[in-house]
């Protein structure tokens, strides 16, 4: 009986998860490589209320699904800028940009060219 209850509880987890309100947003984010992708996505996923985050290397577009009750859209831009990546709303501070790895220096033309 205990086992069955556990199984039923497991089956209902997705239903509880779906009950939350969600909003989608897409914005350009500067970056170059897979390391950048991981850095951007990790920063966004660490925020409470962010459901899923994906940065596309081809289009440089960040796609975020989030709960607007828990997190404001601007906070998403701030989080990305805080790890050193520019967005249309928030430009990364120079000291944060300085922390990104040498191969991710998207403001340097030589670096962006070497990734194409």
């Amino acid at each position: 009986m205990k086992k069955r209850l556990t199984l039923i509880a497991l089956l209902f987890l997705p239903v509880i998860a779906m009950a939350q309100k969600k909003a989608e947003v897409r914005f350009q984010t500067d970056g170059v490589c897979g390391m950048c992708e991981k850095r951007i996505e990790t920063a966004l996923l660490a925020i409470d209320g962010v459901w899923t985050a994906d940065w596309d290397r081809e289009s440089h577009e960040t796609y975020v699904v989030f709960n607007p009750k828990k997190v404001k859209e601007l906070a998403l831009h701030q989080a990305v800028a805080a790890v050193g990546h520019d967005t249309p709303q928030v430009k990364a501070k120079d000291e944060d940009y300085a922390k990104v790895h040498a191969c991710c220096k998207y403001r340097n033309e030589d670096v962006t060219k070497s990734h194409h």
Binding site: K2, K3, T6, L10, P14, A17, E37, V50
Partner: protein
């Protein structure tokens, strides 16, 4: 991303492992990063076979200990004990013993010959980089032995260790990885992995393992220790070479010694009892192996490559079981297997069509002997052969792949063997994948010694054939064909990814070695084969199952799986007048219904919780009614719940787990060990012990709930 997979299917597929990206990492470093960020358990939808990749992330979820235990979070594989005294765990695929799958380490044989029984226990979990589990028959180029599927284990290579330390963002994480583990049952384990770069072309690594158990436990009070005492020392040295002009190589030296001693504990008996002739088991195994793999990719045309595999090994075992009283079945056996293999692979691709062909020589020199009250045999023999294989892959569209392969073996014992194999993959749209496979495989059994744990019994061993029970003749040949079909649906629900997978497989044996326990007190071993003019297989495994993987949210992963397996074999009903009738019966120790649920959740502050619930249905086991044939009992259904909590740090992790949370135990795993009236342990001199002792009717855990603690440290 697509390019990577396409490329990864070419050269490294046959030589350096299916998911090996080392060659490619020289060309496109970033994409490798993405590839490795894959899930713990993932199915490559581009592969023509139904292949599940089990990554290191996944292996951390079931944090103990060796390869046989690595499958505890995997719905396709069952882990079972062979007996209640030697502590050996074996895996089952489609209900069939692991020996019918082809189990390899980096594409070289592992669980074969003398290692069939305990080979999996010789690969420590913390050495493993990843495991590729293929359900359904494997590639012809990897050998003739894949009958139900294929399991390939990729170990940590020098570059895995060196590059992890050199990678940007490693921030002081070094190239020494340490692991330590301790459990309530007294088992401890320490593992080491170290890699160093010598120069631009060469890297070296060492993998070390020491484990053991010094403290005997007897939870159920039957006088027998729950797990054998002993130790294992295991080490591997590896050298990796990346040259110019497309050359690469890896050279591995592996040595191990494993000693296990189990049986009755003197202190379980009343003081003053004569404990000179207690029942005991002992096993000592050693192995030395050297493997060299070299490959060359044409730098002008990466669709052309050549690879060579060369391996030499020597494996020794010496074991005994029983008490020194004449009335008990005391057996002693020993053996050596010295052999090697050499293989050359050629690969060529022309756009949508590619082929891989191989020439393989293998040779095994066996020298086995056994003394047992019913059997006394000893013989040396040589098993050798040459195999030619060719596999053609045609992929006119990204959504369609057809693979056809043929294999011809000229084998010193099995003679001419022809093994065709066929794989088809069709993926209409991105979300749906259908696969079909069919093929044939064969293997050479060592009828008695590949299941030596089952000698822990007073059952008389009957081998009423003119052949050799130790193997080495045509009667030990087992052949099977396998058909499989699967469907995979990848979906996005509530913004999160998930997949549903269903598959059905049929394995039919035309020749098989049957272990017959249906007469109490007797273990009969005999080869059977499909009669001439009949199409009826002598052993069949029909199985289907479905599993659902879903990311409930960004921190929670859920897996639910169900599997039905029906395993039947032709058993010969003894006839007092002579001869016998064949009857298809369910094979014991296979639960027809299996369910699994797995939940994994990450918490803030780098905490992770993993819980796995497995349910085994009622299963047939050999019975004790002497007047019935078959004498069948049923083991009750039971569930196992394992849970583990882990805290990650910058330089490693710490994990604490609970195995068998529900504290399920088989109350009397050893028949005849206890007095039926008083419940006190019996000596082997007791007539009740002598007529009933049997440690092979084991279906469930012996130890019950168990706490363990472990840590990984990167220096």
């Amino acid at each position: 991303m697509y390019r990577l997979r396409y490329f990864a299917l070419l050269f490294p597929f046959t030589l350096f492992g299916q998911v090996d990206t080392t060659l490619y990492s020289r060309l496109q470093i970033e994409e490798v990063v993405i590839y490795e960020a894959a899930n713990g358990l993932s199915i490559n939808s581009k592969s023509s076979t139904l292949q599940v990749n089990i990554s290191r992330t996944e292996l951390r979820k079931a944090a103990c200990c060796n390869l046989s235990e690595s499958f505890e979070t995997n719905p396709s594989i069952d882990v079972a004990f062979t007996d209640a005294v030697t502590g050996t765990k074996q895996i089952q695929l489609f209900g069939l013993a692991g020996k019918y799958a082809q189990i390899q380490v980096e594409m070289t044989p592992l669980v074969r010959g003398l290692l069939s029984n305990s080979g999996l226990n010789f690969i420590p979990g913390s050495w493993v980089h990843s495991i590729q589990l293929t359900k359904g028959i494997g590639s012809v180029n990897n050998g003739f032995e894949s009958m139900t599927g294929q399991i390939n284990v990729e170990l940590l290579k020098p570059e895995d260790l060196v590059e992890a330390a050199e990678a940007p963002g490693a921030e002081g994480r070094g190239d020494i990885q340490l692991n330590a583990y301790l459990n309530q049952g007294g088992r401890f384990e320490v593992n080491e992995a170290y890699g160093v770069r010598i120069n631009k072309k060469w890297m070296l690594s060492s993998l070390g393992h020491f484990s053991g158990r010094q403290q005997a436990t007897d939870i159920n009070g039957d006088g027998f220790m729950d797990n054998p005492l002993g130790y294992q020392v295991n080490g591997m040295l590896r050298a990796r070479y990346f040259g110019q002009n497309g050359w690469e190589g890896i050279y591995t030296f592996h040595a191990l010694e494993d000693v296990k001693e189990g049986g009755q504990i003197a202190r379980a008996f009343a003081p003053g009892t004569n404990t000179e002739s207690l029942w005991s088991s002992a096993m000592k195994q050693g192995r030395v192996a050297f493997t060299s793999k070299m490959g060359w990719v044409n730098p002008d045309n990466p669709n052309q490559s050549v690879g060579t595999i060369f391996q030499l090994y020597s494996h020794q075992m010496k074991g005994s079981m029983g008490s020194d009283l004449p009335a008990t079945l005391h057996s002693q056996w020993g053996g050596a297997q010295n052999g090697g293999l050499a293989q050359i692979l050629f690969q060529h691709g022309w756009g949508t069509l590619s082929q891989t062909s191989s020439v393989l020589f293998l040779r095994d020199q066996y020298d086995l002997s056994i003394t047992h009250p019913m059997l006394g045999q000893g013989q040396p023999w040589v098993e050798q052969g040459v195999g030619l294989s060719s596999e053609w892959t045609w992929s006119p569209l990204p959504s369609f792949t057809a693979v056809g392969g043929v294999r011809y073996d000229l084998h010193s014992i099995a003679g001419h063997q022809f093994s065709p194999r066929f794989h088809l993959r069709w993926a209409p749209g991105e979300k749906h994948t259908f696969r079909f496979n069919a093929g044939r495989g064969f293997r050479m059994a060592l009828p008695l010694l590949e299941e030596w744990g089952r000698l822990a019994s007073q059952r008389t061993v009957e081998w009423f054939q003119y052949g050799q029970v130790l193997g080495g003749d045509i009667l030990s040949l087992e052949t099977a064909r396998n058909f499989g079909f699967s469907y995979q649906w990848s979906f996005l629900l509530n913004y999160m990814t998930g997949s549903l997978q269903a598959d059905a497989h049929l394995t039919q044996f035309s020749k098989a070695i049957i272990h017959d326990y249906w007469t109490p007190g007797v273990r009969a071993i005999y080869p059977t084969q499909t009669q001439f003019g009949s199409e009826r297989p002598v052993m069949t495994s029909a199985t289907w199952g479905a599993s659902l993987f879903y990311h409930v949210d960004k921190r929670t992963e859920l897996r639910i799986a169900y599997r039905f397996q029906d395993l039947q074999a032709m058993y010969v009903m003894p006839n007092p007048i002579g001869g016998g009738y064949g009857r298809m019966l369910s094979v014991p120790f296979v639960a027809p219904h299996r369910m699994m649920a797995h939940l994994s959740r990450e918490f803030k502050g780098d905490w992770t919780l993993d819980a796995t619930l497995q349910r085994y249905s009622k299963q047939p086991i050999p019975g004790i009614d002497p007047w019935a044939w078959p004498s069948v009992d049923y083991a009750p259904a039971f569930a196992l719940l394992n849970a583990q909590i882990r805290k990650d740090f910058a330089h490693g992790d710490l994990y604490l787990g609970l195995e068998n949370v529900l504290n399920i135990r088989q109350a009397h795993p050893i028949d005849g060990a206890m007095d039926p009236q008083t419940g006190s342990p019996l000596l082997p001199s007791d007539p009740y012990f002598q007529s009933n002792f049997d440690a092979t009717r084991i279906w469930g855990p012996i130890f019950g709930r168990m706490v363990y603690l472990g840590t990984n440290i990167v220096l």
